[in-house]
Symmetry: C2
Subunit: 297 residues, 2 copies
């Protein structure tokens, strides 16, 4: 039984001609040629443009390039997930988690969300947009993202359920050895910070809520930009500048005294940790994990 006819179409899109595609699919050219022909009959769709010689994909096929690839990818993923669930005997559960949440709370989440002996949690770290996409595309069962408390929460999508499962504060920190120096310079009207790119959530948060008031009273220079809060933490610890990082992430270093919290001077951002899932799901593993998340965290 052949279940991978979509792959034939993708091969066609990937290659410059039938013979080429046949090679990709590991069959002889005549066999592949006929396969496409019968597919054309079965689907009722012209798949290749025979008017030219290295005959490329037809217009119809090319127009659906993205959709076909997506479908093929989803199919592969779904099957491999099912196989894994089958062989391991463990339920699979994908949780999409914003990078900063993964780093600061990853193990806590994995431990609290399910019994390891019965469910295998795959924590998929991504930026906030991607988390939402993963959820909507059903490539993740649950998404965990930050939401800034002072921002008006846009009404939740009607097909999603959400719950606040915790709180977090973005605090400005720097290496304790350099704290005095940085503060002094700040009062002189100059502040060096470790920034986040404007197109990631933390960057946008910083730009909207923290920097405007600071920039009103001193000149801010962004020493480095990194998308990762762990990297920002490292850099700030070495004295490069102030970085805003999740409190949970800075906690160990703060307790040890290596790091200094400048929140009183520079301001913090209060955030909720929001969990989301599809309103309609009957997957037991998901529902179980959800109730644990809402209850325990």
């Amino acid at each position: 039984m052949r279940i991978d006819w979509i792959e034939d179409l993708v091969a066609l899109l990937d290659s410059g001609g039938v013979a080429d595609a046949a090679r990709l699919r590991n069959v002889t050219q005549p066999a592949f040629s006929r396969r496409i022909k019968t597919l054309e009959e079965v689907l009722g769709i012209e798949l290749i443009d025979r008017s030219v010689k290295p005959s490329g994909p037809s217009t119809v096929l090319r127009d659906r390039d993205a959709e076909l690839r997506k479908l093929a990818a989803e199919q592969r993923l779904l099957l491999s997930d099912m196989r894994q669930e089958q062989s391991s005997g463990l339920r699979q559960l994908v949780i999409a988690s914003q990078h900063a949440i993964t780093t600061s709370m990853g193990t806590q989440i994995i431990n609290s969300v399910a019994e390891p002996s019965r469910t295998h949690i795959r924590l998929r770290s991504a930026n906030r947009d991607e988390c939402e996409t993963l959820l909507i595309r059903r490539q993740a069962a649950i998404s965990l993202t930050y939401r800034i408390k002072s921002e008006p929460a846009s009404e939740p999508a009607s097909f999603l359920i959400e719950a606040v499962i915790g709180e977090e504060t973005l605090i400005p920190v720097c290496g304790s050895a350099h704290a005095a120096d940085l503060i002094a310079r700040f009062h002189d009207g100059a502040l060096r910070i470790i920034g986040y790119p404007a197109d990631v959530f933390l960057g946008a948060a910083l730009n909207r809520h923290i920097l405007p008031p600071i920039e009103a009273q001193c000149s801010v220079s962004v020493v480095t930009e990194t998308g990762l809060s762990t990297a920002a933490l490292q850099l700030s610890q070495s004295g490069l500048g102030v970085a805003w990082v999740p409190a949970a992430l800075a906690q160990p270093d703060l307790a040890r005294g290596d790091l200094t919290n400048l929140g009183d001077t520079l301001g913090c951002i209060e955030m909720d940790i929001v969990a989301q899932r599809w309103a309609t799901t009957s997957n037991l593993a998901t529902l179980d994990a959800w109730s644990r998340l809402v209850r325990e965290m």
Copy 2:
């Protein structure tokens, strides 16, 4: 060539047993039974639970119920779209459009976005969340939604491109015959309005931007709630209360004098009309439509 093996799985999920599922798929029970068996071998996944007698779907299969159905649906849709494109010779293009935008600007969009002789536009009307979902799931090539000007635009998702293609104002209106009465009551401290459900965009907009200041100075009673701005328009015209509707929608009635604009008294909401598409697309019809949208509207 069999391309519909996913449908076998769905049939299995839909039915109470193999024989039942066989009937759904229009084959004899023995044939279907063997089909499932070979599928189990090919996929390497146990599909049915044989320990009980009307043997139901296995745990693994049931856990993936939603995903399988989604995949099956997507596949059906994609193929039928391709067939249609093939037979009509017209490129298909799905544009997701927020209900209120569809009603107020539908024809304008369809006319300006593509040449009818070469592209077939399907305007898919949905609420705002659904528009976004359709876009992200690639079930729509372009989405058109409102965005309230005074709200901080959350940073756009990095994988999407967006453009403001127009403006719109949500204005409070009522039937001209009842305007004086309503205004008088308003000054007496009572206002009757046609509301939108809080979980749709217009409802949220109303609740956040319009009603708070009004409620501070008078008591607001929501006479009726409807999710459709056209319905709201009708109801307000009949004197039931004030409704906030897109200016373009009210325009004809306002010009005719049947409707009165109460914007000066009750306040309006300024909105942008935002078009979005995936950043990565090579679909010519989409790119063409996009440039027309951005240029002409």
